[in-house]
């Protein structure tokens, strides 16, 4: 007869045991906010397609302090998500070499921020020139 009696420990509240796991869970949770934001944006698009009046109504709703608060929260969540996702994305890439040197994670991360900056700038310029 075996005297073995392996003890299996519980995984209850595992995300609170280690700050690394907690940060991971926050990263995952921020996608909920991003999802909500796309729904709000989608409603805006539908409103736009329904004509000026409905679009103006959507814009007025967005000006409500609750929605401004919502957007601030979403912006913070999006920043955190971007920061953490840029941080792990070198791991989700195939191995790339330029000549004989591998593309390092630091370079990949910096490249993403550069791309983000350029795209943001282009969008901001387009919006600003559209308004004038």
């Amino acid at each position: 007869m075996t005297r073995r009696k392996p003890y299996v420990r519980s995984m209850d509240r595992w995300w609170l045991r280690n700050s690394f796991f907690t940060r991971y869970m926050i990263r995952e949770a921020t996608s909920v906010f991003l999802g909500l934001y796309t729904i709000v944006l989608l409603i805006g698009l539908v409103a736009l397609s329904l004509g000026e009046a409905s679009y103006e109504r959507w814009l007025a709703t967005m000006a409500h302090p609750a929605f401004i608060g919502f957007h601030i929260v979403v912006l913070a969540a999006a920043c955190y998500h971007t920061y953490t996702w840029f941080g792990v994305s070198p791991k989700a890439m195939p191995s790339v070499r330029i000549g004989n040197a591998p593309l390092t994670p630091a370079l990949i991360i910096r490249g993403q921020y550069l791309a983000l900056a350029i795209i943001t700038l282009v969008v901001l310029v387009a919006v600003a020139s559209g308004e004038t």
Partner: protein, 267 residues
């Protein structure tokens, strides 16, 4: 007390004689299957010098305070991979973790997370070993080579593709760092997937197609949600998260290429 620290310390007696040894509380997870139903913690006061590792702390307990304490170790130099423990909640090789870094706080030592505990700090590794065997962790030559063929040369770039993954010492720290493995141990897990990649990424190997079945399985790379802690805790600089996520790309390619390539020619 100095001599009590064991033979490793004896030759340093002259030097350490002048230092006063400090004492640290080590809280140890205890589980004796023959009379315990639940584990409990016991605290021991252990003298330590600047160079006393957590493993030596445990050895002091076993030699002088409680001989019934069970734990694994062998090389004492971070190469055999058998002394992994949770030290204050983080997976560590106990031979390369030092008591001085926890003083004046206490040290809490538990068996590696996510594995069943056999006794005290000893976990059952059989699940890992079974998975390791399953990936055929050795080179399969493209065609049999005779000695006269000489060595199989590789370029530095070909070596770089797998070199870091070949540093794995099977210490299981990455499994203890992987909540996905803890939640569902059907998941192949970081270490085995890193080793799988070590062979698949080797230009000399010819068994990729076979190993891709492990990669593509539900419990293969797709069980990973990129928590990334495995790569943080690896004592050998292996990046298991990189290996796993690179294989998500391989697995996707494998899936779509299946429709494009005629039967029998798939790699």
């Amino acid at each position: 007390m100095l001599a009590a620290l064991g033979p490793n310390h004896r030759h340093r007696q002259d030097h350490t004689m002048t230092e006063r040894l400090k004492e640290i509380n080590i809280e140890v997870f205890r589980y004796l299957p023959e009379h315990d139903d639940e584990p409990h913690f016991e605290t021991y006061k252990v003298p330590f010098a600047d160079n006393t590792s957590v493993l030596e702390g445990l050895q002091y307990i076993k030699d002088h305070l409680d001989g019934s304490l069970a734990f694994r170790w062998s090389c004492r130099m971070a190469i055999c991979g058998s002394c992994g423990k949770m030290v204050n909640g983080a997976p560590q090789l106990s031979c390369r973790t030092f008591l001085r870094d926890y003083y004046p706080g206490k040290v809490r030592i538990e068996p590696l997370d996510h594995f069943p505990v056999e006794r005290d700090l000893i976990v059952d590794q059989s699940d890992f070993l079974r998975k390791l065997e399953g990936i055929k962790p050795y080179l399969h030559s493209v065609k049999p080579r005779a000695i006269a063929d000489g060595p199989h040369h590789q370029t530095p770039a070909e070596l770089a593709e797998y070199e870091q993954f070949s540093q794995c010492i099977n210490c299981l720290l990455c499994y203890a760092a992987c909540p996905q493995y803890g939640l569902d141990n059907e998941f192949t897990g970081p270490g085995v997937l890193a080793l799988l990649h070590r062979y698949n990424a080797d230009s000399r190997d010819a068994a990729k197609a076979e190993r891709m079945q492990v990669v593509n399985a539900e419990q293969g790379v797709w069980g990973c949600t990129l928590v990334g802690y495995c790569s943080e805790v690896c004592p050998k600089g292996v990046d298991p998260a990189l290996a796993v996520n690179r294989n998500k790309i391989c697995s996707t390619k494998d899936y779509f290429l299946r429709f494009l390539t005629p039967r029998g020619t798939r790699v």
